[in-house]
Symmetry: C2
Subunit: 321 residues, 2 copies
Amino acid sequence: MTRVLCAGLGLIGIEVVRTALDHPAVDLVAAVDVSPALAGRSLTEVVGKDALGLVVAPSLEAALEETRPDVVLLSTSSRLEAIAPQVLAALDVGAAVVTTCEELSCPWDRPEADAIAEAARRAGRGVLGTGVNPGFVMDLIPALLGLPCTRVDSILVERTVDLRRRRDALRAKAGVGMTVEEFEALAAVNGIGHVGLDCSARLVAFAFGSRDAGWPAVSIEPLVNGDMVCGFRQRVGYPGGDGAPSIELRLEMSMSPVGEADRFVIEGEPSINAVFEGGVFGDSATAALVVNAIPLVLAAPGNLHTVLDIPALRAWKPVVH
Amino acid sequence: MTRVLCAGLGLIGIEVVRTALDHPAVDLVAAVDVSPALAGRSLTEVVGKDALGLVVAPSLEAALEETRPDVVLLSTSSRLEAIAPQVLAALDVGAAVVTTCEELSCPWDRPEADAIAEAARRAGRGVLGTGVNPGFVMDLIPALLGLPCTRVDSILVERTVDLRRRRDALRAKAGVGMTVEEFEALAAVNGIGHVGLDCSARLVAFAFGSRDAGWPAVSIEPLVNGDMVCGFRQRVGYPGGDGAPSIELRLEMSMSPVGEADRFVIEGEPSINAVFEGGVFGDSATAALVVNAIPLVLAAPGNLHTVLDIPALRAWKPVVH
């Protein structure tokens, strides 16, 4: 059994706990959330599933000291700045870390990442940022789809998400119900839309040979129904050239999308056209990717990894190494 | 530059050489084929592409001794028994090995594999069997597609290949033009159809938790047009149960297929429906997968690996580690 601590009990964190509880090889030893509304409550009540009498702990550091887990599953923030101290605290007690923090999925050129990588090497423990996106649909999959090509000219990924099938919190993050002015004001301060599309693009660039591609600019536009925002369209990419393929990632989240799907077009030799019909449903997928990564991260060298660096290819029921 | 020796100049081997010659990080130092029809000939003439004045060498051992390559790309046989001495010879001079040998893609429970793994550990060099199938479409891809699932009930993969688009040799291997009696006689001695479907099934079983699934039986039936065979349909799988998902792989190669495509259906939470429209074209894909594996195998520990064990996720233009 692998001793697991889950930190962060937002919507994704709750899914992670539920998935961890279901896993036959996971021994959930603690769940942490600093929110006064959650700390001290019965975990069973918070996640809606029998959680073995655990109570939500208020302090990550105290819970780490007390339980000394093998792995910490961290679903506390999209921002690296916010989670960096938590990752370091986990490494300090010798725990590996898997996190849904979007910014950690592509850690290059971020000062906090260097400190994490160094601490991970010192602790001899792996750290990985993953999830459905970044971490799977718009980076790992196109990277893998390019593997059978002798030549790649361009990579296009289009993910279309039907917000009617998703949770309220995601609709709010997508700007649903705002005025265009409200949306544009948030967009101007990078405060709306999906976090991590630039991470995905950079991972794809790396997979196709450019480690030093730099951070690409993400553009976002609202989708409007009458006076109200009903979703958004985001784009990011690299123009290619000089032997590098062009890369374009398009993400649309909308209350009235034309067909929910993930589409991949790789032009090259051979060209590849792939479709995930209905798309990969994000909420459970992120939780599965995090829990399925546990044995892989435990088997990986002590370092900060990306989904491109570890053999992320064994699903559910992890195999003992 | 990585110093590469290519052995085996059949149709796949020639594609591998052509792809290696095109690769900016590859220095092709030798090409070997024991066939008297090829040995001694200009490589440029054999592969139809400028091959830097190389002459096809007749002896693998002599060429290994002389050139001491970093990596050997081995496209000599589908059978592990045939390639095992070649792999050991390569390891003996300190070369890593990537091979299209279907049987090496899933090496468990094969006596030759144990000797190779031991020699690889001793040499500190990686060995990998890969290709479009086994190695990618019917094993690596379904393994990856299961990664975002919290629960997997069943996995179905259907690959349909249009033999009209493929080379004569593949059509002959598929029995095109035989009588049903000729086909059945060969099928009875396991002498027709695609080699390695059982390997793919076992890799999938491993990816979903069963290392000890054992070798599944492959069934094959001819597809008939009038009196003549025009292709075949092969099936392999595991019934599942006891917490393991059911697995079914179906391969159809035909002169009149209904839609060339690779289809993947994973039933679970969430379910995943994926299609590669037009399929992954095998000939160039296998060569690309072999050449793209070079930096990954060089970075891997000294051992016999499968495509599930190494981070096979960087394409073309390998990144220096």
